[in-house]
Amino acid sequence: MTPVTALTLTLLIPLASAAGIAFFLRRRGGLASTLSVAAAALLCICSFIAINARGDAAIVASWDWLSFGEFKVSMGFLLDDVAATMLAMVSFVGLLIHVFSLGYMKSDKAQARFFGGLSIFMFSMIGIILADNLIMIFVFWELVGFSSYMLIGHYLETEEAKAASKKAFIVNRVGDLGFLIGIVLAYWHFGTTDLTKMEQLTLGHPELVNAGIAAFLICGFIGKSAQFPLHVWLPDAMAGPTPVSALIHAATMVAAGIYFLIRISFLLPVEVLGFVAWLGTAVAVYAGFCAYAQNDIKRILAYSTLSQLGYMAAAFGLGYPGIALFHLITHAFFKALLFLGAGSVIHGCHHEQDIFKMGGLLKRMPITAITFAIGVLALCGVYGLAGFYSKDAILIAGGLEKTVIFILLTLGAFLTAGYMGRLFWVAFLGAPKSDAASHAKESPLTMVIPLLILAGLSVVGGMIQLWPEGLGALIRFDLERLHHAEGYSAMHHDVLIYGSAAWVVGLLGAFFFYGVGAKDDRLARIAPSVFAFLKARLWFDEIYGFYVSQVQDRFAAILSFLDVFLLRGLIIRGSAGLVGILGLGVRTLHVGNLHAYVYWFLGGLLLFWAFVGTVL
């Protein structure tokens, strides 16, 4: 099998699986799930074959897709180091989540649809990863959006899913608008959207890098990675089934934004990078605060995802794409773990999602609880766990480049530890606070095994030395770069202290503030105004809601009214009515009286005579 064939298979296997499910297995959920998981496994194998076969050189292959005059689109693969790293992560984590879903979705009536959606998603995601040009990225980018829409809306009879899926798609579209324009402009600017060619061009002509195009392009990233101000869809997307949240909204899809940034990093000028850094930092802190006002276990994790995406963006903006990628990978491991853990908890608690109604799960679901704890620690950046390595690197980079960013990111780390502590202490310790929680049972094996594997990865995933050869070259390169940066060792020292302090203080603070297995939120009790402020999340949703219902819909209604009333009513009907009135008027001329008719003759004669006069 040539590498290109392997890649093609990697891409097409999930599509085939989705098609098979859609056409033949709609009513056979069991078979569908098996097929989908098998496809995930197969594609995982294929992807590793391709990665192995890659060696050091990038795999490049391209086919013409469409051409009109000057405009040519090709579709092709570019499997370089970054793509390979990403591909390995996505296919592996994806497989785990597929397996987990087997258990989680077992009793779901629309199992087939769900697994079909997962397969479509894998197809689209792998498409993004492998794409060799911007247009192809955009194609799969949109498809990812669509599959996410489908999966968020899985529980389609609930109003929540209905609204959330719609919101996710539309908000993503807003970002894609900019992305699209960026691509279009880039095409005519560079004459191609091929990543390799563009990179060569910019290397040869650095002046070609254009801030405007870059600004448009990163709109796509903002939408997909849920950055300001398009972050609103991500927390709502938790309406989907939990494995979906894990797969899409933690490990892969949102990370696609970061991945995209890394892929086009050569197109971004310094100003844009700075903007991205600040944007990321802001989101990191903002999301940290927001998480404190959430009681839904998945929503807390969602805000934590937002916050971590902020870290990645900050790292990228600071000039270390490798470190961003590093954090992306480790984050994928532990966030998938956390979400799956949450899924396991929800599964165990019969779809109870409020952490203040759980409690005592450590005893009832020990494996879940322990793996969850590992995830929490990894997220907080506890020394030795996956999160530590990447987060530390980010903080160091921040410290080296911009002190304010460093301070804010450290604050973010502290907040992370705080809300994760809150989540863990309240949900897993103490006594059960609801029937559901008290009857919780450990999840079946299909769900537990992925948890264990991910927990393992969360522990060791950060040790880049253990990674297979051929993966993570960019990460190593950037880490090296960081290590050799000026003032690295001092900063490293500082970060160790501050970073550790952040998680220690955060976790302990939460422990003491909220207490073990608390029944309600202490913050809401003692400082309701602060809690309300946090819960309001800077009123983004309200502003958008206001815009939609008061501005956009009203404006649309006015236009619609004008269309019906003015255009159709007055102008069209009006002119028709005018003809009608004229017709009535003309009709009255036919009075039936001979005299009146003779006057016409007289008038006609005189009129004709007037024409004679004009000639003379």
């Binding site: 017709g583 001979l594 008719y597 016409w600 006609g604």
Partner: protein, 501 residues
């Protein structure tokens, strides 16, 4: 055989001019024969309609077999001391008029059946009108023109008032008579002025026979600015405008169309209008050729006004015969576009004739359906009475739809090609404003034509349907309708059949 017969006739024609108008004479003989038959026993009288139609059919067949326009020699040759002159359309128009007479007789058979009205006189008059119009379009002399015109008009007065038991018909008759006589006097005064000016020895180019078109043509070419000539031409034009129902002499049209018996309305709408247009064309190409500066704006004005008036008035009209009359005004307007363009565009005359032919076929379809649908007085046929007509009478509705489609100018009906040709001509002649008006008119006309079609098919009205009252058309009627519709479609798809375009 054809050539041989033609040669034979040509040989005779060289010695006797009456051969030139053999079809007209045959018609006259047929008309007289009908009166004679009327005198014979009632048993024979019953066959009068059949004899009339058979005779007309024979003459039509003869005309189709033998191209008599050739018998008079080459085109443009005159006969009877210049009273008649054949032109490229005279043969076609003969066929046209005989065919209309045939169709009107057919409609008349339906109309007269069951009515206590004189029978053979109807056919007699119809045939005489046809003969008179055939002479009219060939006339090359104002005396001939006047006499033929009056012949047709007088017969039309009778025909319009033919339903003497109905005061509506009589009222239409008196209106047509008075307005017709008025227009005749106007026309005559114009002729007189032309005659006087053309024969005035003190003017250049004066001729001894200034009633003759050719003489007038050469005279007017030398005196195009003479006010008497212009006034005369203006008055003649006014007289013809009455015949073709063009603004501002159109006002009689709806009343007379409504009151006249159905077949007569059809005859008026089709043959009378066609004759008027042919006369107008031969005048414009003959005597009035030099008056372009004066006539063009007048014609453009008349055309535009007719299109707008006819269409706008028809929009709110519910009575179908009035509606057809008003739409006929609009059709006159479209035809006048061609007439106005004929100053500069040579082939447009053919387009006008083609338009007349499609108009003939479509109108007969419509009138035949009108005649076949329902009982009682055809003067109060309203659109509302056609609600749901298609349920009971799908065949009639289908035919009517085709006919109306052709009148509206919609492919693949002949009416579309006809309008298209006129538009092309107008474009070539640079009559852009007129074109705009025409387009507007077509758009408005779609409203009422489709309003009617909609009424046929619309199923939600509680009005008692006319369809139930009508009997299913006989096989014969079906055949005639089918033939007409096929002819319309063929003209739309393959216009070459009439060898005009």
């Amino acid at each position: 055989m054809n050539e041989g017969l033609a040669d034979f006739l040509r040989g005779i024609a060289a010695t006797n001019e009456w051969w030139y108008i053999m079809p007209e004479i045959l018609l006259a003989v047929l008309a007289l024969g009908l009166l004679v038959l009327e005198l014979l026993s009632p048993a024979i009288r019953k066959h009068v309609p059949r004899v009339a139609m058979g005779g007309l059919g024979l003459i039509l067949a003869l005309l189709l077999m033998v191209d008599c326009s050739d018998c008079m020699g080459a085109n443009g040759q005159s006969a009877f001391g210049g009273l008649l002159q054949s032109n490229e359309w005279s043969h076609l128009m003969r066929v046209f008029f005989v065919f209309s007479a045939l169709m009107v007789s057919y409609l008349g058979g339906i109309f007269l059946a069951g009515r206590n009205l004189a029978q053979s006189e109807f056919y007699h008059l119809v045939i005489l009108v046809a003969a008179a119009m055939m002479l009219l379009v060939q006339s090359n002399h104002f005396v001939m023109l006047f006499v033929a015109l009056e012949m047709a008009t007088v017969a039309f007065y009778v025909l319009v008032a033919y339903r003497r038991t109905s005061s509506l018909s009589l009222e239409a008759g008196i209106k047509y008579l008075i307005l017709g006589a008025l227009s005749s006097s106007i026309l005559l005064f114009g002729i007189v002025l032309l005659y006087g000016a053309g024969g005035n020895p003190a003017l250049p180019g004066a001729s001894g026979d200034s009633l003759n078109f050719d003489a007038l043509e050469s005279f007017i070419a030398l005196n195009p600015d003479n006010p008497v000539v212009l006034t005369g031409a203006m008055l003649v034009l006014a007289g013809i405008c009455f015949k073709i129902g063009a603004v501002p002499f159109q006002i009689w049209v709806p009343d007379v169309y409504q009151g006249a018996p159905n077949p007569v309305t059809a005859y008026l709408a089709i043959a009378s209008k066609a004759a008027g247009f042919m006369v107008l064309l031969s005048l414009l190409h003959g005597p009035f050729l030099a008056l372009q500066d004066f006539l063009l704006p007048v014609l453009v004005f008349i055309a535009a006004a007719s299109i707008l008036f006819g269409n706008i008035a028809a929009v709110m009209q519910r009575n179908l015969k009035r509606l057809l009359g008003l739409s006929g005004i609009a059709h006159a307007g479209y035809l006048l576009i061609g007439v106005a363009a004929s100053f500069t565009i040579e082939w447009v005359d053919n387009a006008v004739v083609f338009y007349l032919i499609t108009y003939l076929l479509a109108s007969f379809v419509v009138f035949l359906v009108l005649s076949l649908s329902g009982e009682g007085d055809d003067a109060d046929l309203n659109i509302e009475r056609y609600a749901n007509f298609s349920r009971e009478q799908p065949f009639l509705s289908g035919a009517l739809t085709c006919g109306l489609g052709s009148l509206a100018g919609i492919p693949p009906m002949g009416g579309f090609v006809a309008k298209l040709l006129l538009f092309v001509a107008a474009f070539q002649a640079g009559l852009y404003g007129l074109l705009g008006v025409a387009v507007l008119g077509v758009v408005i006309s779609v409203y009422y034509y489709f309003g009617w079609i909609r009424a046929l098919y619309f199923n939600g009205s509680s009005v008692t349907a006319l369809g139930e009252a009508s009997n299913a058309p006989t096989l014969q009627n079906r055949f005639v309708l089918c033939a007409l519709v096929v002819a319309i479609v063929v003209l739309g798809i393959f216009p070459a059949v009439v060898s005009l375009v």
